[in-house]
């Protein structure tokens, strides 16, 4: 399906190994301004899946494939919804509680496509972009077995 704008969507994929500030990321990405934008910011919880205090979350990825998958998922989602631009910023490495882990932003001509594309892309990347989380608590690391419920 061709984008409603008739032009190729702008896709930005970033995998920082250091903390990032989502609002600073967005400010740099919002050019030109679109009529509608949808955003999602995910942060690391202060507790593990079993409720223990979390020291840090470790994010492993598959260099090369992770970027390629995110690019393909974002391009397909933008095409389905006629979005004009997509930004995915996803942390890798060691992340502390409260730090941003993922930012998804979509620019479109209307709120419906912008919000729907954000929600779809977030679910798709959680299941189809190769990332693996390990929770560190009490000096012990535990690989996370699955995603949290929607």
């Amino acid at each position: 399906m061709a984008p409603a704008t008739g032009s190729t969507p702008r896709i930005d994929i970033r995998l920082p190994g250091e903390p990032f500030e989502p609002l600073t990321e967005l400010a740099g990405w919002q050019r030109p301004h679109a009529a509608a934008e949808g955003h999602f910011i995910g942060r690391v919880r202060p507790a593990t899946a079993t409720g223990a205090p979390l020291e840090a979350l470790e994010l492993e990825h598959y260099p090369g494939m992770t970027e390629a998958q995110l690019q393909a998922l974002a391009s397909a989602c933008a095409a389905r919804h006629g979005a004009e631009a997509v930004l995915v910023t996803h942390r890798v490495g060691r992340i502390l509680p409260g730090e941003a882990i993922v930012l998804v932003a979509v620019a479109a001509d209307r709120r419906g496509p912008a919000l729907r594309c954000v929600a779809e892309l977030l679910e798709e990347l959680k299941h189809h972009a190769p990332f693996w989380k390990r929770e560190w608590s009490g000096g012990t690391g535990t690989w996370v077995g699955g995603n949290t419920p929607l």
Partner: protein, 96 residues
């Protein structure tokens, strides 16, 4: 003897990630590609490398939740491999 490039290409490169890597105790290996027209597949490599502590009776299948990538794209466990391919075994994905 082939050129150096052909010698390097006559391998298949295997990568493991996260919990799979730690269970196996290694992250990457290069294996010689079988000669004589023998078909090589990711499922065959999985068995050959002994990656499953309790292999299923049925061949050609991987344990539930384990996915395969060939050259950075998801692929079926029975995908025929070519010399020089990079095969990755991926435990359940937990991003976002």
């Amino acid at each position: 003897m082939n050129s150096q490039g052909a010698t390097v290409a006559a391998k298949v490169h295997v990568r493991l990630f996260a919990a799979l890597r730690e269970r196996a105790g290694w992250a990457e290996r290069s294996l010689s590609f079988p000669s004589g027209g023998v078909e090589q597949t990711p499922a065959g490599l999985w068995r050959q490398l002994g990656l499953d502590p309790s292999p299923p009776a049925e061949t050609g299948h991987l344990p539930a939740g384990i996915r395969v990538a060939v050259n950075h794209a998801f692929a079926a466990p029975d995908t025929p491999l070519a010399p020089g391919d990079e095969v990755a075994f991926l435990p359940p994905i937990t991003g976002g």
